[in-house]
């Protein structure tokens, strides 16, 4: 019998399949489709201190084997998430969740994480540091080791929960950012966030997206995500979550061979709403067909 269980920085998961932040809301829409309890965990929509409307529309553009989004972290704010979204989700999902925290200043990150730290339901805090630092000329926190270290060091002081840092692929050397996070006390690294991309509408001869550029994701970015996981696996010793372009059980296995202890499935949920369920159901058969008895044993095996 194929064993799909994995452990993520102390958290036991029945299987490594986790819907990625921003593609699963707070679970509500998908709970109408299938029993969410089959999932390993759920990464919630990126949450900030204040409620945010996000960017102007159009926010979505299509690409070959993928999409661009510029949602701009629309969310109801951490207080509302704790008071309403978590209790609602607990009615239909009985496992620990991953809170995805965004922020535009170090103080915003620590404020939100201190609140998240007190929530029993939250098993892991995932820091989305691919946001511009408004106090620092708008430079992305994930863009340099120093700014990444600064956020992680500050957040580490306010939470004892497993802390994962989600990195941006839009950097020269992702391994040095990952190392800085590990040194600052991160319990794991999640990679990757979206790639910066754009499309131009031929009829209007203007960018499709109102904000001109946005985050590119979907099957097209799988090789980029896999490469990042492979490289970072060799650079750090904390566990990794692999995310980017996953849409089938084979992708999960490939990502784990590269070094991921668990995976997140993003854009695929939006176009194939049953994709996580399908992956979880087919995983044991696909494992059998490759002679894999336990997923834990294949983590990083490609190295």
């Amino acid at each position: 019998m194929a064993d799909t269980r994995v452990n993520l920085a102390g958290l036991d998961l029945d299987n490594p399949v986790i819907p990625a932040s921003g593609t699963f809301g707070f679970g509500h829409e998908f709970s109408e489709l299938y029993d969410l309890n089959i999932l390993g965990s759920i990464a919630l929509k990126g949450t900030t201190r204040e409620p945010r409307f996000g960017n102007p529309t159009p926010r979505i553009a299509e690409c070959t084997a993928g999409m661009i989004n510029s949602v701009g972290l629309q969310n109801p704010g951490i207080e509302h998430v704790i008071a309403h979204e978590l209790p609602e989700l607990s009615k239909v999902f009985h496992k620990k969740v991953i809170a995805n925290i965004g922020g535009f200043s170090v103080e915003e990150f620590t404020y939100c994480c201190a609140l998240a730290d007190r929530q029993e339901q939250i098993g892991i805090i995932e820091l989305n540091i691919s946001c511009p630092n408004l106090h620092c000329g708008g430079m992305n926190f994930a863009a340099a080791p120093d700014s990444a270290r600064e956020v992680v060091t500050a957040v580490r002081k306010v939470t004892t929960k497993p802390l994962f840092v989600k990195l941006s692929p839009n950097v020269t050397d992702i391994t040095e950012i990952a190392r800085a996070c590990e040194n600052a006390g991160a319990d794991g690294i999640c990679l990757i966030n979206t790639l910066l991309g754009m499309r131009i509408d031929l009829r209007r001869q203007k960018p499709v997206i109102a904000n001109k550029m946005g985050g590119f994701s979907g099957p097209a970015i799988f090789p980029v995500a896999l490469r990042a996981v492979y490289q970072v696996y060799e650079a750090v010793s904390v566990p990794l979550i692999g995310v980017g372009g996953i849409s089938g059980a084979e992708d999960v296995i490939e990502m784990m061979l590269a070094g991921a202890s668990a995976v997140e499935v993003g854009a695929a949920n939006l176009v194939q709403p049953y994709v996580c369920k399908d992956i979880i159901e087919s995983l044991p058969h696909v494992m059998d067909s490759y002679g894999i008895g336990s997923l834990r044993e294949i983590i990083g095996k490609a190295h």
């Binding site: 809301g25 109408e32 159009p58 926010r59 979505i60």
Partner: protein
């Protein structure tokens, strides 16, 4: 919402660049006129949202215009082929507010969802007036179908090749009605908003990531807070809409 496989029974050109697609499959998840489906097409990552023109317990009719690669690919599909669709999406029109003589306003491909709505309101005994606007006679469709459904039909074309010359608001001049429902391109909806003298509902379009409320790709600001066009819409009430400001 459910994900269903539908079988194409007809896919036919009915006006310039306008096709009618008839499909067999489960419509159990559909609960109101004005809802939409989201269609998967081979080789396209995002699904294509299309309004339901009308439906019964085992079939649905869609009317679409070929504007890009996806809709052109759809137009090349034949009877017997299968389509993977998410169905029962969006809120749809609220018929309980129609009053006794509702006005249905449809522009271009936006006339399509008015057809199912028209039939439902006529079946409820309402005296339905339909105002349709097209670019030209060649692009017009369903004028006879609306009439045989029992509506009084008013027609406007931009080039004057059928009905009165001008926008659909021209056909609505001096009309009396109890409530209105409108669907069409954004400039038309704005013109309608200035022309109407009752409450009513508008159906909107936005670029969508999922079509079922998960991605926040389609949000718009309203007087009653942020709404997702795909889930809290596509139909919004006149009183809650914040129209774009033009500089």
């Amino acid at each position: 919402m459910t994900q269903e496989i539908f079988e194409i029974t007809e896919n036919r050109l009915i006006a310039r660049d306008i096709y009618r697609l008839h499909l067999l499959g489960s419509t159990a998840a559909m609960s109101a006129q004005g809802q939409f489906v989201n269609i998967r097409l081979d080789g396209k990552f995002l699904r294509r949202p299309i309004s339901v023109c009308c439906y019964d317990h085992e079939s649905v009719t869609l009317i679409y215009k070929t504007v890009g690669a996806g809709t052109r690919q759809l137009a090349a599909m034949r009877a017997g082929e299968k389509l993977d669709m998410l169905v029962g999406l969006g809120n749809g029109f609220d018929v309980s507010k129609s009053g006794t003589s509702p006005l249905l306003i449809g522009g271009g491909v936006g006339a399509a969802p008015m057809y199912g709505l028209c039939r439902e309101l006529v079946a409820q005994g309402k005296s339905v007036i339909v105002a349709l606007g097209f670019n030209s006679a060649e692009e017009s469709y369903y004028i006879d179908e609306f009439a045989s459904a029992g509506a009084q039909v008013l027609l406007a074309t931009v080039d004057g090749s059928a009905g009165v010359r001008g926008f659909v608001t021209k056909a609505m001049e001096a009309l009396e009605y109890s409530y209105f429902y409108a669907c069409g391109p954004m400039p038309m909806l704005e013109a309608v908003n200035s022309a109407v003298n009752t409450d009513g509902q508008f159906s909107f379009e936005e670029r969508m990531g999922c079509g079922f409320g998960a991605c926040m790709g389609c949000s718009c600001k309203t007087l009653t807070g942020s709404k997702r066009i795909c889930r809290d819409g596509p139909v919004l009430e006149k009183g809650e809409i914040l129209w774009p400001t033009h500089e």
